[in-house]
Amino acid sequence: MEPLENLLAESAFFKGLDPRYLRLVAGCASHAQFAAGELIFREGDESSRFYVLRAGKVALVINVPGRGPVIIQTLHEGDLLSWSWIVAPYKKYFDARAIELTRAIAIDGEAVRRKCDEDPPFGYELFKRVAAVTGQRLHAARLQLLDLYAGQS
């Protein structure tokens, strides 16, 4: 199996990261696999882990009373699953459930966060990358809020 460091280096999220930082992250990482339908984490859980998806599809789900579970986004190969590990209060905001067999690299967010505190340039680099992902998702969420197709003629 390919070393985790190489797999991380190929992922969009970690691409171009200084090799010594990659080694540091790889030291906190492990392989993970989720069966179709398996719950990965639940809303309100401690956000101690995050994932880089290698294959498969994951649904982010919010349970809406009276409507049931609503899928608000799906994530795919190369996507970052969870950013709440780096932002207080370090809690998951949604349920995450594998829609199909999903392989991922699981990363110990608490350990990486400690290293970020100890090494601010590393922390800043990771924050920039997380901010880019959250920015893209905020942008997409705003477009979803516009409900563009309603009333389209």
Binding site: V70, L143, Q144, L148, G151, Q152, S153
Partner: protein, 288 residues
């Protein structure tokens, strides 16, 4: 090849653009809760019908009114006119009540078209949102009927919910082909949906095409098209190789009335299909 692409030219059929032809309803197919497709055939057997992908007709429900609707059928079968629309106003409400055998008036076809013949040899990425798939379907029919002349062909489609997916059965057939990549997404879905959730622009970074040899055909709500262009450009697709189908309040269809003026152009006459770089400065102006 890409550098030689020109703006689409308008092709208006017939010597008198205001003359109505009578067409008979053959079938009215419900597509989703609020969209339907009218299948029309000319009453006069001698009536000559041709159209190019992306053009539109003016459809007149007698005594109610006339509206522009894109042609959504196969250009190789022009005598069977298909028009898909959403029930949003008095005319489309009346249209929805039509039955096989009823007659309505048709003027057209009008406007510019997707330059499908000029795109041979390139990868094609079609990005459509909601009912924006309707004016792109003729282009896809054309491309698929000459499939070996094009590179990769990718269809990206976004809808509001799974129940709002247009031409669902046909999308499934297209997805089963080995020579067409189809990716669909919805803005929201209930648990149990196994497809993608997210705006259509999120499909672009993962779509398999070579940006340096790709032409993009885009149709959907204007905001969706603006952000689609941004994502396409991030992938490296150049402005001269992006085409958009615009929508404005079209009334006369021949540039007389000015209702559909969009900056220096009329959408009915100079569009609806525009090369992006020709209109990009106007897309971001609130005042037009």
């Amino acid at each position: 090849m890409l550098a030689s692409l020109e703006s689409p030219q308008s092709r208006t059929a017939g010597p008198d653009p205001m003359a109505l032809e009578s067409f008979r309803v053959r079938r009215l197919k419900r597509e989703t809760d609020d969209t339907f497709t009218l299948e029309l055939q000319p009453v006069e057997t001698a009536c000559k019908v041709t159209f190019a992908p992306g053009q539109f007709n003016m459809l007149y429900v007698f005594g109610v009114g006339e509206i522009p609707i894109s042609i959504s059928g196969d250009p190789a079968r022009p005598r069977t006119l298909l028009h898909t629309t959403r029930e949003v106003g008095a005319v489309t409400r009346a249209m929805r009540q039509l039955s096989p055998g009823d007659v309505l008036g048709v003027r057209g076809p009008f406007g510019t078209h997707w330059p499908v013949e000029d795109l041979e040899g390139n990868d094609i990425v079609i990005v459509s949102g909601g009912i924006g798939l309707a004016p792109l379907r003729p282009a896809l029919y054309h491309i698929l009927s000459r499939r070996d002349r094009y590179g990769r062909v990718v269809l990206l489609y976004g809808a509001r919910t799974p129940a709002d997916i247009l031409y669902r059965q046909e999308l499934e057939q297209w997805r089963a082909r080995f020579d067409l990549e189809v990716y669909a997404t919805v803005d929201r879905a209930m648990s149990g949906w196994r497809g993608n959730v997210g705006v259509v622009t999120t499909l672009i970074p993962r779509a398999p095409f070579d940006p340096l040899n790709t032409v993009a055909l885009v149709c959907g709500p204007e905001v969706m098209m603006r952000f689609t262009v941004q994502e396409l450009q991030k992938r490296g697709v150049g402005p001269p190789t992006i085409y958009l189908s615009m929508e404005r309040n079209m009334k006369c269809a021949v540039g007389f009335c000015g209702h559909c003026q969009f900056g220096p152009v009329f959408v009915c006459k100079d569009g609806p299909v525009f090369r992006y770089d020709r209109i990009k400065d106007w897309l971001v102006k609130w005042e037009v």
